[in-house]
Structure formats: C-alpha cells, structure tokens
Symmetry: C2
Subunit: 249 residues, 2 copies
C-alpha cells in the first residue's frame, strides 16, 4: 500500500511520515520510506529511497542559484531520473506492507512540476494524505478552499486524496468541535457562507453548494504527528482504499 | 491601480513585473514596484518597497534553517510588519498610476500563509494576474486544473483573478491555437474530457461542466514577458477592472 504525504511547507509531512511509519511498524507491518524532498536537511526516518542522493537544493545554491531557483532546478534535474526512482518505489511496494512517500517541502514543486506527475501516474492506486494546519482555517470560506484543494490534488495527480487536519494537539476541545462541524456538515458550512456578504463569501457559497455533485464527501482525518492521534483512522482508511480502490465515503 | 503577479516559482512573475512596468512607463504612466519575495537574489526593476530590507531567506539559512524552513520562517517574521508594508503600498497607490506587486517565489508562501491574506485583504480592488506556463498544459484535465486554480486564488485572496498564459514566445503558432481553444471554448474542453476514460478525466469533466455556474468566463491573457506580447491586453484589463470593479467577462 502506498501513502503519499502532501502539503505546504511546514504542514508536517516529514514528521508524520516518521511517526506514522513508527506506528505501523509497532503494529507488525513492514514499512518503507521514500524522501522526495531535495531541500530537507535532516530526516527523522531512514529513507529507503532518497532524492538527495541525486541532487540537493543546497548544492545548487552553491552553484549560484537563489533558493527558489534552486528548488525548481532540482526537480528539473530529477526529471531524467524519474523512471529509476519510480521503479525503485514499485519494487519496494512489492516487498513491503506499507510504503510512505514524503513529498517536496514546497507542495507546488510536486503539484505543478512534471516530476510529481511522472511519479504519481506510475503508482498503482496511491492514496494521498493532504495535510493542512488549523492556522489556515480562519474564515468559513477557508473551509471551502481546503475541501476544494483536496479535489484539485485528485484532479492533478490522479490520486484519491484524504484531507488530514494535522497538529490537532494544538487545538482546544471546543475549537476542534467547531472545526469538525464546518469540515463535515456541508449544509452548516453553506448556511455560514450565506451570511458572508463579501464577493469572496458569495463565491465560496457557490463553490461549496456544488461540492457534493463533484465529489463524494470523503472523510477527514484529525491527526497529530506528535501524539499519534488519528493514526488508527489513517491506517483504516489506507486499508479500505486498498481494498475498495478509492471509495472512501 | 494595483496589479498583483502570482504564480509558481519559475512562472515569470519577476520578469513580467519589470517588463510590463517598463511598457506602462513608456506609455506615460507613473509606476511603482513592490517586491514581496524574500528569496529573490537580483531584481530587474528598482523596488519602491522591498521585503528583503526586513528579512531574506539567505540570512535565515545562515542561522541554520534549511531552504524550505527559511522560506516559511521569513513570512512568519514578516507578519509583524504586514501593517507597515500595507500602509506603504496604499500610500504609493494614491500617488501613482500603477502599482505592480511581485509576490513570493513559491506561490504557496502567499496563498497559504496569513501574510498573503493580510496584504491582499487591505488593498482596494486589486487585480491578480495568475501566471502559468505552457509546460503545465499536457492533458485536457490540466486545462480544467488551471481554470479552477484561478478561482481558488479568488476564493482565498478575494482578488479578481485573470489567468495569464506566460511565455507564449516559446509556443509554435498551431500549438497556441489549440491551447487557446481548450482554454476558451468550455464546450470543446468538455467534449475532450468526456473522451478520457480515467477517473481523473471523469472528475475533470464534472468540475468543468460546473465552471460556468461558479464563475463567469474570465478572459485569458496570452503574454510574453520577453517580447511584450499581450501587454496591451493586460493594460486594458487592468483599466476595465478598475472602472467596472471586477467584471471582466
């Protein structure tokens, strides 16, 4: 089973790759780790495949690139190695129970770059976990943004995508229950959006009203890479996805 | 008038800021330049406001951060300066005909970070130009992705967003006319999507069928920061947006 962790820089991909992997191993599974981030300095897990063996952002910066240019250039250069990386991943997946893929620090290096599509399109039924933090959920329209963003990932990479609210250990109980309601109860979210008189609120309302028609309501996972909360749910989802090929309603 | 250039690293934001600004100045306009990219090394324009006066990614990397961590940290630190940056922008906007804002190298540092929302929500009727290159348009579903991504920017930042296909100088004439048809003729795009038997194709078809209901068909600009192609259209759009407050159908 292949699980890809995706999310913006700082969303906790690397930490959850290590801690969820540790959880799976403790439960008796064999687990492989793939690092696709050319910019990470230290990893809290031992990667079986590591793109930094081919190229790193820091090397490119020493060649004179700025940080943004170096990130883009690193994936341009990895493109010619995409087939060998993919074969390595497929081989590991045959041998092991779980394969966890930690993606580039900047999500756009994966979503918008040919490299990300080359890797994901070669995988058999991968499940993507789209990590986001509570900090991006400030207004009702942000909930609509997050839900649609998961669908955008599906559309771009062809993966089934589960939204994972990470860092729930940072949220108080009452706040979490309000977040859960806005993420799970589409009628409630729409009622809240209807009260927003801004153009943004109106756009969010139209987009969200349409959500159930575009995509079935995929479950949201509430996780903490720190405390292990939600790991049982993530394991169940990975397994269900593997058995049912993508139906996670 | 404020025009914000947005797009992934390498989409040409900085180059078009300089060359479109030069074009506007040549036509007798007074133009101001704002750089919000903490990671850029050299700018081809002279910024009136430059976030690198406050913090740079390279400084943070010298403190020990990796490139991704340094990018995130730079915007975390800029957050406490958001009000002063915003006042500076509003003051310049009063004095000048055009104000061009060049955003962070990594688009997600702007779209997903509180800093981007703080800046954009304080601006009066800004127009955002969402730059993308022909390299991300490989399959019909990618056209759907790009069109919806512009709406996602609207939703997140509350800006009116114009999709700008940049680097058209790199495309052959026949290729460009095929791209234009897929970007502009939604019925044609839907007919193509209907032929795609993959899950991804089916999702794209459902999303695209719904597009006209969510958002009126905004015009697409075909531009080249190198040759100046499309600059007249971009100028017209900025002006129309300013006069009609957002109706760019």
């Amino acid at each position: 089973m292949i699980l890809i962790f995706l999310g913006t820089a700082g969303s906790g991909k690397t930490t959850i790759t290590a801690s969820f992997g540790g959880y799976l191993e403790k439960n008796g599974n064999s687990v492989g780790y793939v690092n696709l981030d050319t910019g990470v300095k230290k990893l809290p897990y031992k990667p079986d495949i590591d793109v930094r063996d081919i190229i790193t952002v820091e090397e490119l910066m020493k060649e004179g690139y700025g940080p943004n240019g170096a990130i883009v250039e690193s994936y341009d250069r990895l493109l010619s190695h995409a087939d060998e990386i993919l074969s390595g991943i497929l081989e590991l997946d045959e041998e092991l129970d779980y394969l966890l893929i930690d993606t580039p620090g900047q999500m756009e290096s994966f979503l918008f770059h040919e490299f990300g599509m080359r890797i994901t399109s070669g995988l058999k039924e991968p499940l993507a976990a789209y990590l986001f933090g509570p900090d991006i959920l400030r207004r009702p329209s942000d909930y609509c943004f997050v839900k649609f963003f998961a669908i955008m990932i599906d559309l771009r990479l062809g993966t089934t995508t589960v939204p994972v609210l990470n860092k729930v250990d940072l949220i108080r109980e009452e706040e979490l229950s309000s977040i859960r309601r806005l993420l799970e109860d589409i009628d409630y979210l729409n009622a809240r959006l209807k009260l927003d008189p801004s153009m943004q609120g109106f756009l969010a309302y139209r987009i969200c009203s349409f959500l159930p028609e575009v995509s079935p309501p995929v479950r949201v996972v509430y996780a903490s890479a720190k405390t292990g909360e939600g790991f049982d749910e993530l394991e169940t989802l990975s397994y269900e996805h593997y058995c049912t090929c993508g139906d996670l309603t």
